[in-house]
Structures are given as structure tokens and as C-alpha cells.
């Protein structure tokens, strides 16, 4: 897992959804940890696309459950 990418996701998600950094761990479920719905996911997707200057098609998120999964999807495009 790309640690830098994970740390960026951790920081962005923590700020966006007002949740402590410590609660965001690679193996944790994104949806239950952040308590977010698909509108929030799409909003975070836009932030991540802008931060990393990449496009992330939302269909690539279909199997994403954990922060590590998301880190890997983004890392594949860097």
C-alpha cells in the first residue's frame, strides 16, 4: 500500500467529515467509519481527483470497502 496516498486520504477524509485521524485506519470500512452515503462518497471522489490531479471513474469504487482499497485504486492511477 502506498503510505503517502493513504496519509493524504486520511487527512482529507478527517477534515471533510470532521472525524479524528486516529479512527481512519487502512483496514477499516470507509462507509461505516465516516458514516457517509453515496453523495458524500462522490463529493470525496471529486476532492481526491482534484488533489491528485487524476480522474477516478466511480465504477472503480464498486469493490472498494476499506481505506486500503481506496488507496490502491488511487495509487494505480499515479
Amino acid at each position: 500500500m502506498n503510505q503517502n496516498v493513504f496519509l493524504t486520504i486520511q487527512k482529507l477524509a478527517s477534515e471533510k467529515f470532521s472525524i479524528s485521524l486516529d479512527l481512519i485506519e487502512p483496514s477499516k470500512d470507509i462507509f461505516t467509519t465516516l458514516q457517509i452515503n453515496s453523495v458524500d462518497v462522490l463529493s470525496m471522489l471529486t476532492d481526491l481527483e482534484n488533489h491528485f490531479s487524476i480522474e477516478i471513474p466511480d465504477y472503480e469504487l464498486q469493490d472498494v470497502r476499506s481505506f486500503e482499497d481506496l488507496t490502491n485504486v488511487i495509487s494505480d492511477r499515479l
Binding site: F31, N37, S38, V39, V41, L42, S43, L45, T46, E49, N50, E55, P57, D58, Y59, L61, Q62
Partner: protein
Amino acid sequence: MKWHFDHPILHIELNCEPCNEIGMSMLSFFEDFLQQAPLENAKALIISSSNAKGFSAGADLRSLYEGLTYEPKKSHKEKIENFIDRIHHVLDTLDLLPIPVIAVTHGICFGGGFELALVADIIIAEETTRFCFPELRLGLIPGFGGIPRLMREVSNQTIRDFLLTGRSIQAKNLPSLVSQVVPSGKGLGIAKKMALQMSKFDTNVVQIAKKFIKPEIKEKLHEEKALFIKMVLDPKVQKALESFVQDTSQQPYLPK
């Protein structure tokens, strides 16, 4: 949902839960607006949403599913044709209004909501906007005139990307579709300034200019409508709608 006239600007504000779905209630609202609003005295129309989730999530699929499930099968075609004819009439009328129409989008702008935004002459997109045509996920194509209208604005390649992947694309990646990408929460104010600028111009010249730059797409709209009606009556669509309606995962706007 409401509209008001702040001379010389008309403003439609969409706001119904969960995310401005377009069903009978929204359709009636627009029909009433077109009958009652002082269009002849207006110099511009702004369409925006005050729903936090976005501009609109598209057609009211729950109502469509209920109609196809609980109403007599023999009435389906007639009822769907009636709804589609009426929504096309509304969107065609908005599209061809003699005054400039500005859509202010944010968040979710999917399916029928995207089709509504496409009648506008100008789209001001807040940076959170994501446009999407998810219809193929249900075994359909867009049915409110979205494909022919999108064909006026972007390349065929982009349309294929939208339709054939069903993915959502953020506003800043669609420079030929949106006029400006603006910070979150600033869209309406920016649209009002734009509308006031537009209102300084001669009404007849605006009308001529608009007619000249918006090509006739009647034939393509008719084709799309016929294809949609044929597809929506397929039992596979009803099955897909059932899955959508029964999904309780809180993730209705993501592909599955």
C-alpha cells in the same frame, strides 16, 4: 419547489427530497410555471436547487417502479407515453424560451436532472457538480431529450463515455459543457450577476441570437423518445428498477 420573479429575472428553485427527483409533482410544477410565470416580462431565467445533495438525481424511479408494478399492465404504455410527452413538452419549451436560461448546478446532476440542466443556455457549475447518465445501469437510455441536447454541447466521444460507462464526471473536466466552474455556494450569486448583464441586451436580438445558435433537434428528440418508451416497457427494466428501489445500502448514486 418554488419560483419567483425579481424583475427582470425569473428564478426557479428546486427543493424536494430526496434530491429533486423528476416525477409527476415536479412535472406539474414546471407546467404550472410555464402557464403562470410572467415570461413576457422576464429577461432571463435561472434554475437552481437549494437541496443540499445536488441539482437533481433524475427521474423519480420509485414512482416509475410503483406504476409498473401496481397499475394494470395494459395501461403502462399509455401512461408512460403521456408522462414522456408532457416532460418533453416542458423541456422543449424551456429549451426554446426566447430569453436566456441559466442552470446553476451542484452535487448530483444525474439522469433526468442532467437532462433538465441541458435545456439551459448556460450552465454555471459549482465545483462539487458531477454529471452522469446512469440509465444504462437500468437497461435504458436517457428519455427526456438528454442525448440530442448533449450532442449539441460535447463530442460524441464524451457522450459515449457518459452513456456506455455510466460514470459520473466532475464539472471541471467538461469545459465545453459548463460556462464557469465556481466555488461551492457561489453559483446562484454569480448566475444573478450574469442574468442582470444579459438583461441589458435588446430582447429581440437575444431571441434571434439564441434561435441561431440552438440548432433544431426535433427529429433526434422524437427518435430518443420512441427508443426510451420501447425500452422502459421491457420486463428487465422493471427488474432493475426493483433492485434500485429495494436497495437499502444508502449508496444509490454509485454503480453496482
